[in-house]
């Protein structure tokens, strides 16, 4: 029987090691799997490479890992905190204690999709002629200049869903969807934290956003540690 459900957060993050590359869902405060973030924190992992859109805020999000010095490198489009109360990323970055790969947001999600879709790279017009394309291969196709971008994959993806079933099918809530469906394609281990676990057949087959084949573990938000 296929059953992606795990009973505890410890089970949800079991086997993830220090040194792992982690795709972390969310845009701003929407869609960050806070329970999984805490579980990784409790597992005391170090030396992580984190691929995510934002650099942490005053919420218990990526900033928890940053405070505990768990992150070696951040691949990110917007590492600046908008709310000035959280400057942990800035502190580490300006002290040279964390590596940053800054990627335009659309290129970030497309690179993740590229990795998840088994492709080797793509040409995008975004960034051409800017500092963020510095040193990258370019190519003129149909008279327009493009920059070559390479796929991103990770050991693990941590995402948040609204509901999940035992097959791992996921649906999302509003703007909390953002990177999650793409991240779910691009990691060896995909773990989803769902507001709700539902019975098989409860999710409308036309409305499933992430089919279960992409998901390895689901844990209910608020499950025991």
């Amino acid at each position: 029987m296929i059953d992606r459900r795990v009973a505890t957060y410890a089970n949800a993050v079991a086997g993830i090691r220090s040194g792992a590359t982690v795709l972390l869902g969310g845009f701003g405060g929407a869609g960050v799997p806070l329970g999984l973030v805490a579980a990784i924190d409790r597992a005391d992992l170090r030396d992580l490479t984190v691929i995510t859109n934002n650099g942490g805020s005053h919420e218990p999000d990526l900033s928890v890992w940053l405070h505990a010095r768990r992150v070696r490198k951040l691949v990110c489009s917007y590492p600046k905190a908008r709310i000035k109360t959280n400057t942990i990323f800035a502190e580490l970055y300006l002290a040279g204690q964390i590596e940053l790969e800054l990627v335009p947001q659309g290129t970030l999600v497309e690179r993740i999709r590229c990795g998840g879709a088994g492709l080797g790279g793509f040409y995008t017009p975004v960034g051409v002629g800017t500092d963020l394309a510095h040193g990258k291969e370019t190519k003129v196709i149909g008279g327009r200049e493009y920059v070559l971008e390479l796929p991103l994959r990770a050991d693990v993806a941590l995402i948040k869903a609204r509901a999940a079933d035992r097959l791992g099918n996921l649906v999302y809530n509003k703007a909390a969807r953002n990177f999650a469906p793409v991240m779910a394609t691009a990691a060896d281990l995909v773990v989803a934290e769902a507001d709700e676990l539902v019975e098989l057949g409860d999710l409308d087959p036309e409305s499933v956003v992430t089919p279960g084949i992409l998901v390895d573990r689901v844990v209910r938000r608020g499950a025991p540690q």
Partner: protein
């Protein structure tokens, strides 16, 4: 002469958005445009984080923090709105599906180069977000910015000195002094605030301007 207030700048830009347009509004001043869309026009707002047909901020106490815009502020969804993932959202932006993007700017060059993501100062954390993507794909890119910087330096320049966001993309610039089109052969002033001469406007601008044949007074 009286420069436009920030609110009037947003109002002026809003007037040029036609009925039925699909629009993305950058963070900052362009945020205010929806408040000034002339009555009778239906505009459909896209947000980079995967929303189409955004409505205004909800009443206090009804905020949903899983329903935020690109600026991370709570918004609502209008009937007919929809949600999608970031992959499709940026495909929409890059793929030429937006009619108009209205962006903030630090500098715009005479050839339509845009600098709006970094001042190049090496003393902070860089961040680009969706700025480069937004500046690349919409059918028209408009910029809404003060005509000169706080120190008086022109923001419309021969060549951007700040790091570029994208090359040759800006079509129209709305400032607090003028409305300026970026044409293949240079910058054309379409509207200018009352009691400001073209000569004086040129003094405040770092690239050659020429008046449109039907140069008008900029009023809101």
């Amino acid at each position: 002469m009286t420069p436009l207030s920030r609110e009037d700048m947003a109002r002026r830009a809003a007037r040029d958005i036609p009925d039925g347009a699909f629009v993305n509004l950058g963070i900052g001043m362009p945020d205010q445009i929806p408040d000034h869309i002339p009555p009778g026009r239906e505009i459909c707002l896209h947000s980079e984080n995967g929303i189409l047909h955004m409505g205004p901020r909800p009443p206090e106490g009804e905020e949903d923090w899983e329903m935020i815009n690109a600026g991370k502020k709570p918004v609502t969804l209008l009937p007919g709105g929809s949600f999608f993932d970031s992959g499709l959202s940026f495909a929409i932006m890059r793929g030429g599906h937006l009619d108009i993007s209205v962006l903030g700017g630090f500098q715009v060059s005479a050839r339509g180069d845009l600098a709006n993501w970094s001042t190049g100062a090496n003393d902070g954390v860089p961040a680009v977000g969706g700025a480069m993507d937004l500046a690349c794909g919409a059918r028209q890119i408009w910029v809404l910015m003060e005509h000169v910087a706080k120190d008086g330096a022109p923001r419309i320049v021969e060549r951007c000195t700040y790091p570029l966001t994208a090359k040759g993309v800006v079509r129209r610039i709305f400032t607090n002094l003028a409305v300026i089109d970026v044409e293949a052969d240079g910058l054309v002033v379409c509207e200018i605030v009352p009691d400001l001469s073209m000569d004086r406007l040129q003094d405040l601008t770092g690239a050659p301007l020429r008046p449109a044949p039907d140069l008008r007074v900029l009023t809101v």
